[in-house]
Symmetry: C2
Subunit: 339 residues, 2 copies
DNA sequence: TTGTACGCGTTATCAC
DNA sequence: GTGATAACGCGTACAA
């Protein structure tokens, strides 16, 4: 009778099995595998053969406990819809992987126990990135207090954390000036400055430009998604004092606003200027194409991962506070440049 | 002199510290915390107080080693651009979180060491989801052989794995029939059937409908992104035998094709029908709006997580092979229903 | 109901 | 250059 192929799920070999087979101590096996101390060539040879024969792979569990490190980073975001968070996560993962660290994700959307989840994530990683709109500063502090390095993205500083943001005020101001220069008179900002630091920064920029031009500063509190934008814009555009320019918190809101305009028989770009933020794919394909602001999303993620690494390895002691530049993209939705 | 607030990053307490303070054994502390065995109310009270006083939180490292479980799932995707992978990941994370498991992500894009990375991910998780277009079947087999449950998404079955797909052929066939019914004669599929099971399935559906109608079956091998779609479509639409319908592998390709048509002075929807797949946001906002096929993305992710859980906990022994339904969304890009 | 003692798989510190 | 051996922090049979 022919020998049956061994069921593949044998018990995985341990470092002891390897040691025994190679006639050395577990310590020596470890030394060979990690290259942490010189080992005699002949011994090394024996060890390597045993490792291969037994298909030995060090248990991450054991390694982690011994090193007291997870070799993993976390990232906490409110959602993943739209390219913004997605691209940041991608940049983050790529950089983390380059440095040999895994990435744990956590979405807080629709989650009552977000704080708990973040705290629990904190003890599975060596460091984590936290976006705005996820958990309160208390929780951030608590995490930082456990000794887990934290990098904040798109939110104001919390003591003991690194912060990386993208530029908001300046671009928003520039965008608004452009609108004013091209003859728009009644500019309204659609967003909620109390909801996030980004929303506040953008409003500050809009506000500044309007002030300079001695225009009234209008703001319509608005959620951050398409349906909120559509509803808010509809109301505004139906009012007697119809705005001729809508500066929206992001592209979703702006695209919703475009829909609202069309539904009211108004032509975006001609009858009402509309601008967004993020340069999502749909912004390019909408007609008219959406004027928006592009952020260096990948770069944001990559820098966050790098900053985390520096703190985890102890390469850096002080805290970072960085602001990445953004770029205004003028397209057709803000009017035909009717100077 | 007033006592200074203790520096927050003290050495975290261990279960032994708690035991000592509560005058019990570490075992009892464990019992209280895990609720695994009854403990006298008075004892429990003492333990809980000690836990609170010391701010004790069990080390995941210790727990994991003792339980020999990671309490974590992995998910491997080729990329995260576009809403497809993103939404699947989100559905996956949500379901995993509900079941108390963390999620590790791994992107294989632009990665020479993808196989290595996947193997290494395999020993940080209790199970993982693998998308098509990530690693070869060999690697999948290798992972499965280590005893880590694997669920495959959007790729053909590999022995020993669960598989969940979304329906391709039927919807593609339906879509193509619609085009034929509405007078389109020269239908070309833009995609690469050798690149993924999804691409192959969609081509099969298109092919079938064309065959039924005794039409010639045209296919133009094409990458899966916007620029590939644009280039391929441009070439096709410039040829003497210009197609009057382009069935594209996904929305990115289709949107690229729309761009190409416009650049050549052709009106998508009127001069040439164009269809996509995935129903990305831009599909709704393009003009004309893009006819496409919607997949239950969240559901796909959620089911994958559930399937994994069943295998990890041993609730299920056999393997699953499931196909989720998709929905054709007829919009303006495939012509004005000029029956 | 509670405690003892060992196992989990490595790494690292000493001796030799 | 190599081998014992002690952490690492927890879970859990087994015993009491």
């Amino acid at each position: 009778m022919k020998a049956v192929v061994k069921p593949v799920s044998e018990v995985p070999a341990t470092i002891y099995d390897v040691a025994e087979r190679a006639n050395v101590s577990p310590a020596t096996v470890s030394r060979v595998l990690r290259g942490t101390q010189p080992v005699a060539p002949a011994t090394e040879e024996r060890v390597r053969k045993a490792v291969a024969a037994l298909r030995f792979r060090p248990s991450r569990l054991g390694v982690a406990l011994a090193e007291r490190k997870h070799a993993a980073n976390g990232i906490v975001f409110p959602d993943l819809s739209g390219p913004f968070y997605t691209e940041v996560v991608l940049g983050y993962e790529e950089m983390a992987a380059q440095r040999g660290r895994s990435v744990l994700i956590l979405s807080t959307r629709d989650r009552a126990d977000a704080a708990q989840a973040v705290l629990s994530l904190a003890d599975r990683v060596d460091g984590m990135v936290l976006f705005g709109r996820t958990v309160s500063d208390d929780v951030v502090q608590e995490v930082a207090a456990t000794g887990v390095p934290v990098v904040l993205l798109g939110r104001p500083e919390v003591p003991g954390t690194d912060v990386i943001n993208t530029e908001n005020e300046r671009s928003a101001c520039q965008l608004t000036r452009h609108l004013l220069d091209h003859g728009h008179r009644r500019v309204v900002y659609l967003g909620d400055p109390t909801a996030s630091a980004d929303a506040a920064g953008r409003w500050a920029g809009v506000s500044k430009a309007l002030k300079e031009a001695r225009r009234r500063r209008f703001i319509a509190t608005c959620g951050a998604d398409e349906s909120a934008g559509r509803a808010t814009a509809k109301e505004l555009l139906r009012s007697r004092t119809r705005p001729d320019a809508l500066v929206c918190f992001n592209d979703e809101v702006a695209l919703g606003a475009m829909l609202a305009a069309e539904e009211l028989g108004l032509r975006p770009g001609a009858d009402v200027a509309i601008t967004g933020w993020d340069d999502v794919m749909a912004a390019r394909f909408a007609r008219p194409a959406l004027t928006t602001v592009r952020q260096p999303m990948r770069e944001l993620g990559a820098q966050a991962a790098a900053a985390l690494d520096e703190r985890i390895t102890g390469a850096r002691a002080g805290l970072i506070h960085r602001v990445l530049p953004t770029e205004v993209l003028i397209r057709d939705s803000c009017g035909g440049h009717r100077t």
